[in-house]
Amino acid sequence: MSFEPKILGIACNWCTYTGADLAGTTRLQYPQNLRVVRVMCSSRINPSFIFRAFQLGADGVLIGGCHPGDCHYNTGNLYARRRLAVTKKILEFSGLEPGRFRVEWISASEGNKFSEVVTEFTAQIKSLGPQTKFKISQ
């Protein structure tokens, strides 16, 4: 059986989640490996969510937020940008493959971009194989 990755998507309510909705209503096809969690803003994302997701068996984590400057709360994603950049560096230095974590700015009108990013990211995770480093072994 081929490897089907589990990917956690954390999407901001105002842009990426709406963008995902648009991708759905326009009947765009994208892989079903993504499990989307909606948060009100990308700055709501505690970096521990990401570490925890990897521990609980996620093979990749994709984070979606509004384009910088377009945040519903004006500045949320600007804080998130700095914070998630640090998260990425920490994951990298601890030895996890850097390709397993990705942040994308996807606006509400970019249904196309959403499906493209998910397709591309899923292919990337498939090529990386299952994530075993952080996963809690039973």
Binding site: P47, S48, F51, R52, Q55, P68, G69, T75, L78, Y79, R81, R82, R83, L84, A85, V86, T87, K88, K89, I90, L91, E92, F93, S94, G95, L96, E97, P98, V103, W105, K133, F134, I136
Partner: protein, 288 residues
């Protein structure tokens, strides 16, 4: 030029006595006698008569800024600070945990401090590579100049060039040793959350037993919480009973923050901590 530890001790005593007698401060945080010369202890002088117990020698590497947050707001405190410790004080002022006007900083310009466990000299490899306090009110002794500055980040090169598999194996080995005594948290001047995220039960962020995955969660999150705030005093790794080189990871994160956000932690009172601040023109490249 060599550092006269005795001279610094005398000056520390005179200043502490003067400050306590004049009532300018109610508490002096300095170093006191331990069970032997190699193990001095953090010491709190509250009366002018306590001052006689203050000592200072090459093993006094504790970061006394750790104890500032334990006193109620408004307590007038004098604190003995070495170079890294003064950065911790600045960082605490930036985070509004202490007020500048409540503090009297007794700056100690010093090099050649030793780690009592290994007898190694603490230099740029394990601390920030500074010798003179960044901020002080009274300087005990002359500023140190002409000492070879050891670049604090040089030690990282070997770990950065490692293959990620090797690096993961290295950290797995190190974190597997962790016995979750939380000495790193107790020694750290920036770790003042109550309760710490790892002590919370709802939500339970990580396993509390000393197993790899719980240790990983604790340490990675702690590195993240100290991003842009770690002032590189190296106390976490010296406090560690199983010698996990935590300073390496902290240095790495500190360097990345410095490169990405253009400011080092605890260098100026006017700065804001890097992660509670932003610039509109921060580059998206930092996410790649």
């Amino acid at each position: 030029m060599t550092i006269s530890f005795k001279q610094i001790e005398e000056k520390l005593k005179t200043e502490a006595k003067r400050l306590l007698e004049s009532g300018q401060v109610s508490v002096v945080l300095a170093y006191g006698k331990g069970y032997d010369e190699k193990h001095p202890m953090p010491y709190v002088a509250r009366n002018p008569s306590d001052v006689a117990n203050i000592v200072f020698n090459e093993y006094c590497n504790y970061n006394m800024a750790r104890y500032l947050v334990r006193y109620p707001a408004g307590t007038k405190i004098a604190v003995a600070v070495k170079a890294a410790d003064s950065r911790a004080v600045i960082q605490l002022i930036q985070e509004e945990k202490v007020k500048r006007e409540d503090l009297v900083l007794l700056g100690i310009p010093v090099y050649g401090m030793k780690n009592p466990k290994t007898q190694e000299i603490i230099d740029g490899k394990t601390t920030g590579g500074l010798y003179n306090p960044v901020l002080y009110d009274i300087l005990l002794g002359d500023e140190v100049h002409g000492q070879a500055i050891q670049l604090p980040y040089d030690v990282l090169a070997a770990y950065e060039s490692m293959d990620k598999e090797v690096r993961f194996a290295f950290w797995k080995k190190e974190f597997d040793k962790c016995i979750r005594c939380y000495a790193c948290r107790k020694a750290c001047p920036m770790c003042y959350c109550d309760p710490c995220f790892i002590d919370q039960n709802k939500p339970k962020w990580g396993d509390k037993s000393p197993k790899f995955h719980g240790n990983l969660m604790y340490h990675l999150t702690r590195f993240h919480h100290l991003a842009g705030r770690c002032i590189d005093c190296g106390e976490c790794s010296r406090a560690c009973p199983v010698d996990i080189p935590l300073y390496l990871f902290h240095k790495k994160v500190a360097r990345e923050c410095e490169e990405m956000f253009g400011q080092a932690a605890g260098m100026s009172i006017e700065d804001k901590p890097a992660l509670v601040n932003f610039r509109v023109d921060d580059s998206d490249k930092i996410l790649e």
